[in-house]
């Protein structure tokens, strides 16, 4: 058997600029951090803001990741995703309030145990809700964007109202567990403990998600499905089942994000998910709909931008993120890491 004719692979010929291309979005994060350093007069404030920006970014990422994957996999856009954030926050906070003895005790172990129970409860509730939401709200409108937007928006309204029915219309204030209160001082800057924890959890979630997507067969199916769902089915995988799984996992993550967001704000309302959706949408658009990496980078950019600008000129913080979105869409109209569909 003779050797098949060789074709020089294209990657060997790629120029430096071409090879840099995929890394450009990642480089935006240090660029933004440096810009923040130049714009903010005090370096300790800058450090504090950077940490809270990263913490906020991580939380947005956790909330947004499910949305972007669900879109990539089945072309389903869920405007009701924010409902999972709200429900997660309410379930999680309710659990923490019940476990008030454990959260107010000055013991790290007890605090963490309470937090774990709260997070587990929130994720179980939102995961279950995601399953129901997919069956009742989303499944009947596959392949029909207009109806999807309308129906999932309707679902959001209903869930928000049900939260008010169950928990009452008042906002609920929640104190963070004792061990997560206060700040540590590093290089003269006060860094809130909770934000450091949020950064750590966000990193763990991102790395775990990457590991699942890169190293497991189910992850391969998901990535392949984002690119060409039809072929995945022709190989023998039930994409529909995988999609439901991703939807449930994404909903549970939104619930986790909701608990974290609620503890970050220290107050929760039925509309908090809807408010978070603004940043979530900006993040998934600039990241590239369907891309988890793009979502991660986009979330960190938005978190940093929001915190830097809020410090410099509080009134334009939200508008600055719209500006960021406009700038990135002018650079790459499909987002930073565009997901190429086979068809």
């Amino acid at each position: 058997m003779s050797v098949a004719p060789e074709h020089a692979p294209k990657m060997a010929q790629a120029s430096f600029a071409h090879r840099l291309g995929p890394w450009m979005p990642v480089l935006l994060i240090p660029v933004l951090i440096v810009l923040g350093f130049l714009a903010i007069p005090s370096s300790t404030s800058w450090l504090t803001l950077t940490v809270s920006g990263l913490a906020m970014g991580m939380m947005i990422f956790i909330m947004a990741s499910g949305l972007t994957l669900v879109f990539g996999l089945m072309d389903v856009i869920n405007f009701g995703h924010g409902a999972f954030v709200s429900v997660g926050a309410f379930v999680g906070v309710s659990v923490l309030l019940v476990l008030g003895q454990m959260t107010s005790a000055p013991s790290l172990a007890l605090n963490l145990a309470a937090l774990m129970v709260a997070v587990f409860g929130a994720m179980a509730a939102t995961g279950l809700m995601g399953w129901a939401f997919e069956k009742v709200i989303v499944e009947p409108v596959y392949g029909h964007h207009l109806k999807q937007i309308l129906v999932t928006m309707g679902g959001l309204i209903v869930v928000e109202q049900l939260i008010i029915v169950l928990w009452g219309p008042e906002e609920i204030y929640i104190a963070r567990p004792e061990a997560l209160k206060g700040a540590v001082t590093f290089a003269g800057a006060a860094l809130e403990k909770y934000r450091l924890v949020a950064v750590a959890i966000g990193l763990v979630v991102f790395l775990a998600m990457r590991w699942v997507l890169r190293r497991t067969k189910i992850g391969l199916i998901v990535r392949a499905g984002v690119e060409n769902g039809e072929m995945v089915q022709a190989l023998g995988y039930r994409l529909r089942l995988v999609f439901v799984g991703v939807f449930i996992a994404g909903s549970a993550l939104a619930g986790l994000g909701g608990v974290m967001w609620g503890l970050y704000q220290e107050v929760i309302t039925a509309h908090m998910g809807n408010q978070a959706m603004i940043l979530i949408f900006i993040v998934v658009i600039i990241g590239g709909l369907g891309s988890v990496e793009g979502c991660f980078i986009g979330a960190l950019l938005v978190g940093l931008m929001q915190n830097y600008v809020a410090f410099l000129e509080p009134k334009v913080a939200l508008i600055s993120n719209i500006g960021l979105m406009v700038a990135i869409l002018m650079w790459r109209p499909m987002g930073m890491i565009p997901v190429v569909k086979a068809k």
Binding site: M1, V3, A4, P5, E6, H7, P9, K10, M11, K217, L220, I221, R223, A224, V226, E227, N228, E230, M231, V232, Q233, A234, L235, G236, Y237, R238, L239, V340, A342
Partner: protein
């Protein structure tokens, strides 16, 4: 001839308001290469896509080993042992060659012996095993697409235009690969526009026109009868 591995009986397929297949009858015998021929746009690709379940047959039966699969979902058809190589190859460009092959092995880890056999037919796949499939050349992508179908033994292979748009040297690699597969006793339904490849590989031949089967017989008969080719496909093999 023993009972066929695949039989289509009066299959009708509509895509939107268009009636693409209008009563297709087809038999694919076991352990042979069956050619599906015809001009562009007569429904060859639609026939394959209907068998794998991407399109639904509105009427008629599709029997795989006597079992009607026309109502089964695509993944179930694939798991029943139908390997599909689509015209546009269906490569997952973001995944590496290795990951593409892992996915293709639905029933478990890849059998190393079989992988060695695939590598012996398509050596570039071994060279670029860890590379992203999107960076492969067109010919290498086609090799990967066929290798994915070959990585496990299938009851039936559906292969759509494996030589389309390839350089002559790579076409011969493809032809050799299909011949190896055939020598293993595989049953293949092959759509092919390149007549010399068709003549070299085909046992049986079926010619389609306008959503129907207009001729079925032996490839040998078709390839020696220029008048018949002219009548069925409006082309003469001598030209190739």
């Amino acid at each position: 001839m023993s009972d066929p591995i695949l039989r289509l009986e009066g299959v009708y397929t509509n895509i939107a308001q268009y009636h693409i297949l209008q009563g297709v009858d087809l038999e694919v015998p076991r352990g042979a290469v069956t050619m599906l021929l015809g001009r562009n746009g007569v429904g060859k690709t639609t026939t394959l896509r209907t068998i794998i379940g991407h399109w639904r047959a509105h009427q008629g039966r599709i029997l795989l080993d006597g079992e009607d699969i026309s109502r089964m979902p695509t993944p179930a058809i694939a798991r029943a042992g139908v390997g599909f190589v689509p015209e546009e190859m269906g490569i997952f460009a973001d995944l590496t060659v290795e990951e593409n092959m892992i996915l293709a092995a639905v029933s478990g880890p890849i059998d190393p012996a079989r992988l060695d056999w695939v590598f012996s037919i398509f050596p570039p796949l071994k060279t670029f095993w860890k590379s992203e499939a999107g960076n492969l050349s067109g010919g290498q992508k086609q090799m990967l697409s066929i290798a994915r179908a070959m990585v496990e033994e299938r009851r039936l292979y559906l292969i759509d235009e494996p030589t389309k748009g390839l350089a002559p040297a790579i076409i011969s690699t493809m032809a050799r690969a299909l011949k190896e597969l055939k020598e293993q006793g595989a049953s293949i339904l092959l759509v092919e526009q390149n007549f010399s490849v068709a003549r070299a590989l085909g046992d049986g031949a079926n010619v389609m026109d306008d959503g129907r089967m207009i001729w079925s017989g032996q490839m040998a008969e078709l390839s020696t009868d220029a008048a018949l080719q002219e009548r069925l496909m409006g082309l003469s093999m001598e030209a190739h």
